[in-house]
Symmetry: C2
Subunit: 234 residues, 2 copies
C-alpha cells in the first residue's frame, strides 16, 4: 500500500484514460485497489468522487479524489516524487515540452482519431483516416525533436507524460486498424513512432495496464454495432 | 531582464490566452520584450516558434519557445520558482485541483461560452446563454470548494493557475454581455465568482495585462460584423 493513505483507482478496463493512470501507478510501483466501473451503471463512489464529469479515471488517495487522466499522471509523479522513476523531466523546458505534446494528443490527435474510431462505413473510414494522418505526421515530427533521434521515448530515456498520453491508445489504434483494414502507425511512413510503439508496449508496467487485443476487438465491434443501430450511443 | 536568457512574448492584445502569459509574467515581476502578432499576417518568428499551432502566446526564453497558454503559465512558475509568488500551490493535491479547474475552463466553460461569443442573432444568443449557465454553476461550486468560503482565489490567498485560466476571459465576458444584454457573472446567481472577479481585476499584474473595455468592445463588434458577412471568419 502507498505511503500517505489508501489508494483506489476507479477505471474501466477498455478506457485509454484509465490506462494512463494504471501505467503511471505501475511505473511508480504503487499498490492500489482497482475498482471497475461500468458505463451504464456508474457507482455512487464514482459519481461522488467526480461530480463534474462522472468519468474514469478517478484516483482516490487517502479519501481525496483526483480526476482527469493527465492530472492524475502529474499527481502521481508529484505525490510520490521520491518513489520510482520521475514521469516528468526535471528541466522546466523539457516539462513544458511534455505537457505540450500531451495536450496535442488530447486536443488534436484524439479528436481526429475519434472520428475514425466512430466510423461505421468504409467511405467514412477512408475520409476519417485521411484526417488523422496529418496529426500523426505532426507527432512523428514531434517525436523526432523530443528524442533527437537518440532517445527511446518522448520523455527521454524512460517513459514520461507524453508517452503515457499517446501510448494509452496503442491497443485501441490496432483494434481500429484491424476493423478498418488500415495501419495507422505504418513503419514506412512513421518509422520513429512505429519503433517507439514497440518499445512502449514492451515495458512491464504498460503490459500490465493494457487491455488484451482480442477482448478489446470484441468490445469495439459491439460498440460499432450499437453505434450503427437506431438507438445507438450518442 | 530575466535570469537565464532573454525573454520575449508573442501575443495579441485581445487574446485571452496571451493575457494568461502576461499575467503570469507580471505576477513573477519579470521583464520581457512583447511582440504583437496579427491574426492575418503572422510573423515568421511565430510560425517558426509554434509550427504546430501557429498561435499566440509563445514565450521565447533564451531562444527556446514554449507554446500553449496553460503550459506557459506552468513553465513560468517552474523556471522562476524562486522569483515572486508561486502560481501553483506546493501541495500535490492542491496542484491537481488547480489543473483540474484549468482544464474544465478550457474544455467545458470556453466551448460553451464560445458559442455565445460567436452568436450573431438574439435567438442564438439566448440559446447559447442557456448552455453557458450550467458551466458557470459548476465553476461557482468549484470556487466554493477551492476557497472553502474563506480564501480569495481558486489558488487560495493569491492568484494561481485556475484563476489565471478563467480570469483571462473576464473583460471578454463583459464585452459579450454588453452586446448580448446579459450578465453572465450575475452576483445574485453567482456571488462567489462575481466577488472573485472583482478581486482578480484589482490585482496590479492583471490590470496591466487586461485589454481596455471600450477597445475590446470595438474589436468584438468588428468580429461579429465579419462573422455575419458572407466571407466572414470561419
Amino acid at each position: 500500500m502507498a505511503a500517505g493513505g489508501e489508494l483506489q483507482l476507479l477505471g474501466s478496463w477498455y478506457s485509454p484514460y484509465a490506462i494512463r493512470a494504471k501505467v503511471a501507478l505501475g511505473l511508480k510501483g504503487l499498490s492500489y485497489e482497482y475498482i471497475e466501473e461500468y458505463l451504464f451503471s456508474k457507482s455512487d463512489l464514482l459519481q461522488k468522487s467526480n461530480p463534474v464529469h462522472r468519468k474514469v479515471p478517478v484516483l482516490i488517495h487517502g479519501g481525496r479524489p483526483v480526476c482527469e487522466s493527465l492530472v492524475v499522471v502529474q499527481y502521481v509523479d508529484e505525490a510520490w516524487a521520491g518513489t520510482g522513476p520521475p514521469l516528468l523531466p526535471a528541466d522546466a523546458h523539457d516539462r513544458a515540452t511534455a505537457r505540450f505534446w500531451a495536450a496535442f494528443i488530447d486536443d488534436k490527435f484524439f479528436q481526429a482519431w475519434r472520428q475514425l474510431m466512430r466510423s461505421t462505413t468504409d467511405e467514412r473510414r477512408a475520409e476519417a483516416f485521411k484526417n488523422v494522418v496529418p496529426q500523426v505526421e505532426t507527432l512523428e515530427q514531434g517525436f523526432r525533436e523530443c528524442s533527437k533521434g537518440k532517445k527511446d521515448f518522448f520523455g527521454g530515456d524512460a517513459i514520461g507524460l507524453a508517452d503515457i498520453a499517446l501510448g494509452s491508445f496503442l491497443v485501441w489504434i490496432r483494434v481500429v486498424d484491424e476493423v478498418s483494414g488500415t495501419k495507422l502507425l505504418d513503419e514506412a511512413k512513421f518509422p520513429g513512432l512505429a519503433a517507439w510503439a514497440e518499445r512502449f508496449l514492451a515495458v512491464d508496467a504498460v503490459k500490465e495496464a493494457m487491455p488484451e487485443f482480442e477482448r478489446l476487438l470484441e468490445h469495439y465491434k459491439g460498440f460499432l454495432a450499437k453505434l450503427a443501430a437506431p438507438a445507438g450511443y450518442s
